[in-house]
Symmetry: C2
Amino acid sequence: MMNVIYLVPALGLIGLIVMAIKSAWVSKQDAGDKNMQELAGYIADGAMAFLKAEWKVLSIFVAFAAALLAYSGTIHEVNGKPIHSSWIISIAFIIGAVFSATAGYIGMRVATKANVRTTQAARTSLKQALKVSFTGGTVMGLGVAGLAILGLGGLFIVFLNIFADLGVDTVKTSIEVLTGFSLGAESIALFARVGGGIYTKAADVGADLVGKVEAGIPEDDVRNPATIADNVGDNVGDVAGMGADLFGSYVATILATMVLGQEIDASGDQFGGMSPILLPMLICGLGIVFSIIGTWFVTIKDDKSSVQNALNLGNWASMAITVVASYFIVMWMLPESLSMRGYNFTSLNVFYAILVGTIVGAIMSIVTEYYTAMGKAPVLSIIQQSSTGHATNIIGGLSVGMKSTVIPILTLAAGIMASYYFAGLYGVAIAAAGMMATTAMQLAIDAFGPIADNAGGIAEMSQLPPEVRERTDNLDAVGNTTAATGKGFAIASAALTSLALFAAFVGIAGIDAINIYKANVLAGLFVGGMIPFIFSALCIQAVGKAAMDMVQEVRRQFREIPGIMEYKAKPEYEKCVAISTKASIREMMLPGAIALITPLIVGFAFGPEVLGGLLAGVTVSGVLMGIFQSNAGGAWDNAKKSFEKGVMINGEMFYKKSEPHKASVTGDTVGDPFKDTSGPSMNILIKLMSIVSLVIAPYIAVEGGMTSEQGMKMNGAQMECCGDMMSTNSGMDMGKCDMSLCKTMSKEECAAYCDSVGCSAEEKEMCQSMYGADGKFDEAKCKEMCKTKMGSSCMEGCDKGCKTAEECAKSCGDACVKSHATKM
Amino acid sequence: MMNVIYLVPALGLIGLIVMAIKSAWVSKQDAGDKNMQELAGYIADGAMAFLKAEWKVLSIFVAFAAALLAYSGTIHEVNGKPIHSSWIISIAFIIGAVFSATAGYIGMRVATKANVRTTQAARTSLKQALKVSFTGGTVMGLGVAGLAILGLGGLFIVFLNIFADLGVDTVKTSIEVLTGFSLGAESIALFARVGGGIYTKAADVGADLVGKVEAGIPEDDVRNPATIADNVGDNVGDVAGMGADLFGSYVATILATMVLGQEIDASGDQFGGMSPILLPMLICGLGIVFSIIGTWFVTIKDDKSSVQNALNLGNWASMAITVVASYFIVMWMLPESLSMRGYNFTSLNVFYAILVGTIVGAIMSIVTEYYTAMGKAPVLSIIQQSSTGHATNIIGGLSVGMKSTVIPILTLAAGIMASYYFAGLYGVAIAAAGMMATTAMQLAIDAFGPIADNAGGIAEMSQLPPEVRERTDNLDAVGNTTAATGKGFAIASAALTSLALFAAFVGIAGIDAINIYKANVLAGLFVGGMIPFIFSALCIQAVGKAAMDMVQEVRRQFREIPGIMEYKAKPEYEKCVAISTKASIREMMLPGAIALITPLIVGFAFGPEVLGGLLAGVTVSGVLMGIFQSNAGGAWDNAKKSFEKGVMINGEMFYKKSEPHKASVTGDTVGDPFKDTSGPSMNILIKLMSIVSLVIAPYIAVEGGMTSEQGMKMNGAQMECCGDMMSTNSGMDMGKCDMSLCKTMSKEECAAYCDSVGCSAEEKEMCQSMYGADGKFDEAKCKEMCKTKMGSSCMEGCDKGCKTAEECAKSCGDACVKSHATKM
């Protein structure tokens, strides 16, 4: 049955093969006339130029970080505690980084092909245009999910083989090394998201401010020098950035579930006790297949059909299939009863947790759609407030954004409590994994938006007939809503994933609580809460600064290059592309550094509990700021878009160019960095900081603390005796000797182990005395010793040192004896 | 030496007497010509009308809440645990509410007198105008601080007498009943701040949008129908609202310190062990006197002198005197060594904690000033970004606000850690109290701003010569900065106070940790973090809505009343006043209800630990949102003001009415509700929710939990034996019998107590056996029993039931014996 482990990378491969087929299909489509191809060429070149510039900088970072990780992998002991790591973590890190970059690259390449082909298809019908753009999105989705599953599943098999001779530590070490993969992926995701987000919004805001507002030419006008940069931005930000982002999220979620899965005692399964580890990978791998099935539903009959409905159908279909399939997978793989950190649950409960995750994800999507969709109360209220000027429009948008946090947070809180109730911390993690299983489909829907946006841009720039632009606008409008719901989904999964990572961190760092009532932990919570604020400020400010540079450059070109406005001279597109590229690379450094370095400083200077407080602060504040900014931005955007068809305010109709419309453009411009730069970066920020903390956890584990495995055992309410003995709080302290490890070793191995960690002679002897004549660890003996040596040997108040029930009866009476019976 | 307790209300009285003298002086000043007096009359009437309408609503709330509290006071036992409360808490609550309202009223009355008199004084010189306006502010400051100290000190004496026959519970019950005073004060503060904040900004935004932007008439033009409402707003929001706010903060801070102070064992002092309780009251009481001294420094030579410097001098002087005096008071009152929850510290360390608090307050003020002052980098960056339009101005302001959280949060975190390091949780609380000691001075500086603002308005409306307006503008500009620094101060003290309240809550609720690693506590943290967002959204939205009503009304008057623009007809001021009044009363309900009811729901439904998580979330997110919003608003305001004298952007000068100026007006308008409605409400929100939690803590204390006193003893690392015995986690459980209470009783009292709480016969007997032949509690006997009965009787790993060192030596060896010596 262990063959199921090979199924995982195979599923990833299937995704990649389907992707290749779909990608080839897109390439084969008609790319339109020479003019269109030229414009598309500019966009593709600009996007490639940005990716190259970004990769250059990131490769330095990756090399540096990999060296650091390789060094850390050579440390095998900190404060006398063994650390299960290896220099191979640096290889995993590099692979994660490369895969993440590749995922972005695949998406961007197909997007820059699909855009012009969508324009061309839109000349014939909406149905065809949807097909091309959505297939482009599907390539991206399958590429990301396929690479993630292939990478995780493949590396896990490789690591299991590499560390096969570590015996009991094989799985543990494999998973710890695998965190490097996730760290690599998430690091690249952060830079790609922030860099791409700054790029796209600097170009967008800059192009709009001079083009639309000052020069009075339409969006995507070929005369605007910044228009190519704007379209490049859609590809590097909304496609490549988002691809890397969701790649990172997806990997982190699965990994967090695996880390917690290894703590579960599932020895009754048919997978060598590894079923809880394999489960998330398998569900997400099959999710790829179900996403492919879902894409079949995304088709329309004619130009009058609803694109949104088609996408919804595909999305709900793949989610429904995944949920149903999860039931059978869970019931097949997991043993009926499981236990983690003292929390008991059944396999059915694990399924319920997955169900909870899916429901949370669905509610988050629906709520996000409500707060950002045209025609709904929140957007209407912003439109209403646009009538009294720019300021009231802004006030309206800010308050909509803030209000939109309420239901998602309550849903999330309920989801955390419910999934924990069903299956403990593993339940929280698997809920997130279940939610993320259809990432391929989610991403296909997400990525189709910017492709359609680009297609519209090319149509405008090529001065194609209005019905073409109308069709691409139809797709684009739907794309705006799907982008918003996708963000809701991403932030929900990030919150659940962080909690899972958080739980894993606590175990490895050897603490059994993060008590915010302690002054320094509370201080950590404050500092953590502040990080999303400074991170957002830096992103927003970067967009503002870069946009101003862009404005100056566009103004200069209008001034210095005569004939642009009369179509007689070509603007210098590449100069604007260069400005965005340079600015985004430069400005992504500081926020990225804050995310990476803060946990290091806090962890090493103040220890794991304060770091835990920091993480909690980052998570809570990051989720709130993410929802607030994404939704405010989305609502402003659609409030502005509503003016295109005209809106009624106090009985009067207003259209584009009216005063209220101008106010709504202000809101949209403010919302741009909110919804595409800082807002969506929040979920990466949260996860990246959690992963960094997880990676450094063994090195900052508390003095005399526990290893991960012990920590987990210690946390539960029902502690096993032989684990209990090691507790630093209990009556006896075994010092460095870890009986719960010996339990899994032979007598000789245990002796060697005791020597290696520096146990005293007494400690070693006690450990050795636990072995029976056959050289096997005698659990009964261990428990007996616990009974006699621990304070818990008698009932409360009766401790007169009795070692057996008989003795107890003599010294303490019958009540005590009864207690012996019930307690042991 | 106990007479010192009478000194406290006496100091409050001194403050009130000086206030009365200063108030009489203000009244005696020349109130100007008939026209000015008429305008001032409108303002005073409008303000009074609002207060009356507000009080009407609040009196219903107070009556209802008081009834609930009185009922709760009759519950003497929950889950078998005794609760130390009394129906008298409802009286304390009512007095707190009335005092808080009175504080606001005093401020508003003097402000509506001082405004016109400042205008009149400004006709002669800046020096005189400063004197009148600052004296007006001083009346407010002294009124608030005097009432607070008189109320706290006086009620404490009364309660000590009322509960004198409770023996050991006298102090405890007195302080618990005193929390009602703080609850009343803080409740009124919330409504006053939110209601007043909505009022003032609805009027301000509404008046600006139609008057300045649409009709093109100056601010405070007599033709604008909303101008009176705008000026009323300054009085009900910035004066009455702020007065109630700081009254609440001040009381909460002192009370939190008293609650923690009662846990300190200070039996070596000359005040019957009550020195840690009296200390915060005494320091704050003397702070009133030092504030009076500080006001002497606030004077200028002529029109060219710097008003800011004069205010700074007064402020720093009173702070310096307070710090120096604190040293002597602390050294005189406190015994040299103290201990709380196992944390040992010296009296000198308590002084250091006060010093930390003062430094934190000073840094917060300086940072706030930096981020909001004209001519500094942040405001200049917003001006710069105004050149590219409304949107970039908004982006600039938002990012300045977010960035401005960094240093305050790091300062706060360091302050929490440092003050805890010096004197444990008491240190954190006393740091806040030290910071708040010069509240009278702070408030004088704060309240002088709106008086000057009003004076300017009256000058404008009465069409007085430009030099008069220039003088009042000079004062107003300084007032803007002091308002911002005052908010920094308030939020810092709120954060520290909340932590202190938090600590008190933990003790009373019988939990010894708030572990965010638990799923439901984390869920509480999320929900708590969300509260400031929805609260802010509701406040901002209320301002937006009410401002729109105002705009419609002003437009209607311009349209329907001919001759307004030609000064031929008088606008209907009272209609605008009525709109603001109605809107603010209506809109303050929901946010107020959220603040009051959320802790009740969470506490009773999910228990104290989840409520603790909620409080932590509210505190962190509230502090961040408070700083963010207040500073963004302040920076926008001064960016706009900078245009009055002209600003240089990219080498070009811009003045009022230029495009960048218009953009800056948008920012200012957005910032108005940020800085005067939602931002400053955050600190009340935080504290009110903490106080509500503290009040309900005994009723939601965990099953088998501890009483406050025990809880505190249990928390420390070095637990006292006779307290330790009661721990539910320790080897023996005394059930309902609380040995640490018996310790303070006679044998008979203890027997009666055991019966009253329902101890079993064995439990009672054990308690009785602790008394010596003389009928006195024998602590040595108790400790001996602890040694023999508790798991801690031997060193870790040696527990073989030895009762004496000799026995131990026999069974366990010398190492164990040594442990006996060091441990007991």
